[in-house]
């Protein structure tokens, strides 16, 4: 079976490098499944999990947005931060979630801090979600 090269890169270095039969991700415009031989594509991602399917196993990588670049034989995910499911620290993610919730409650709707807290909350929830699926 044909495979794809997959790499997830962040400013702090590569998070994941490997091969896969299929990669699925959640783009801003909807779910996206990439198999070998896909046409070249660029799409922005939401705060979500990138799933790397390989021989019946699935690796989850939590990404904080960014975008995906697809070539027929290679998929690159560029995110400002990304974590493998196995490397997420549950306590830290929980703490981040609580912090974001407190800040949400303390700020008013139109405040820039409010939006920031909302994003932080979504990132934290995403990480908890991904971590619980390892």
């Amino acid at each position: 079976m044909k495979t794809l090269e997959v790499s997830v890169v962040t400013p702090d270095g590569p998070v994941f490098e490997g091969t896969a039969n299929m990669v699925s991700a959640k783009a801003k415009s909807g779910e996206l499944g990439v198999m070998p031989g896909h046409i070249p594509l660029v799409a922005p991602l939401t705060i979500s999990a990138v799933r790397v399917h390989q021989d019946g196993r699935t690796q989850y990588v939590a990404v904080s947005g960014g975008f995906i670049e697809v070539r027929p034989e290679k998929v690159t995910v560029l995110a400002q931060s990304a974590e493998l499911a196995s490397e997420i620290e549950m306590e830290r993610a929980q703490a981040a979630k609580e912090r974001a919730e407190r800040r949400l409650a303390a700020t008013s709707q139109n405040d820039i801090d409010h939006q920031r807290a909302e994003l932080a909350l979504r990132r934290a929830v995403n990480r908890i979600d991904v971590a619980s699926r390892r």
Partner: protein, 285 residues
């Protein structure tokens, strides 16, 4: 100078040397790590640059405020300095240049705004009453992207909401352990994609080029800033290492001189004592 005083000077200098030597070694280790950080950042930067340039150069229809020059009413300066001194000319090089440039280009403080990294720079601009929009101090020796995300995206946002109409970045570029180079870089508007447009891939854009640029360009500008910061950190550690090595060498030389004086004085004292004894004996005979 009395023997005891010289001895005290020698001891004091030795202690100073111990400290400078330790600082040199700490900086050497930090430099090592900083170089690794910079290396790890390269794949990300390369990739993002490739994608940005293929979109920006590939299509004329894609227009984004961050790609367009507009009349400049206010200029932003992003200045990277260290939190501490003891790094030779590292800080003063940057600050002197920025100060001179601003004085040349602008008549009044309304025409520019400064964003500064590092305590030394912050104090410099504050004490001269120059408008500092934002600052970050106490940055780790090996900053991660999360540490500077806030200030980088703020800089980009300030451009987006037209607080300033162009953004320059000033920092020391790391050349080698003994050399760094003052660098001035125009970050925004994003103008030239140097040589990277050789990429042959023409992409499908999902959903559209405009929406991708919306995500991509701020991310690109922020990573430019992060890249500069990593570079500057490496240069900082390098110049601190060099400065401390010079200090250690100087201390060593001083100790040599003092030891020589000390021995001479001691010998003189002994000789004098002997002369006095001989003189005393001769007087008794």
């Amino acid at each position: 100078m009395a023997l005891r005083d010289i001895k005290a000077r020698i001891d004091a200098t030795k202690k100073t040397m111990q400290i400078t030597k330790a600082m040199e070694m700490v900086s050497a280790a930090a430099l090592n790590r900083a170089e690794q950080n910079a290396k790890r950042f390269v794949p990300y930067m390369d990739k993002i640059q490739e994608v940005v340039s293929s979109i920006a150069s590939g299509s004329k229809s894609a227009r984004h405020p961050m790609l367009l020059s507009r009349p400049v009413k206010k200029t932003g300066y992003f200045v990277i300095t260290a939190d501490r001194g003891l790094a030779g000319a590292y800080n003063s090089n940057v600050l002197r240049h920025v100060f001179r440039t601003i004085k040349e280009r602008h008549q009044s403080p309304d025409e520019y705004a400064i964003i500064v990294v590092g305590k030394v720079g912050l104090n410099f601009f504050k004490s001269r009453n120059m408008p500092v929009l934002d600052s970050i101090t106490g940055l780790a020796d090996q900053p991660s992207f999360a540490d500077i995300k806030a200030i980088a995206s703020k800089a980009v946002n300030l451009y987006a909401n037209e607080t300033f109409d162009e953004l320059y970045m000033y920092y020391n570029h790391f050349v080698s352990a003994i050399q760094s180079e003052l660098t001035e870089k125009k970050v925004l508007p994003l103008a030239d994609f140097d040589g990277a447009s050789t990429s042959t891939a023409s992409y499908e854009y999902e959903p559209s080029e405009e929406e991708i640029l919306e995500v991509l360009l701020p991310q690109y500008a922020e990573s430019l800033i992060y890249g500069a910061l990593l570079d500057a950190k490496a240069a900082e550690h390098a110049s601190r290492m060099t400065a401390m090595r010079n200090a250690t060498d100087n201390a060593n030389e001083l100790i040599g001189q003092f030891t020589l004086t000390y021995n001479r004085e001691r010998q003189a004292a002994i000789t004098q004592e002997i002369t006095e004894i001989v003189g005393g004996v001769a007087a008794l005979e």
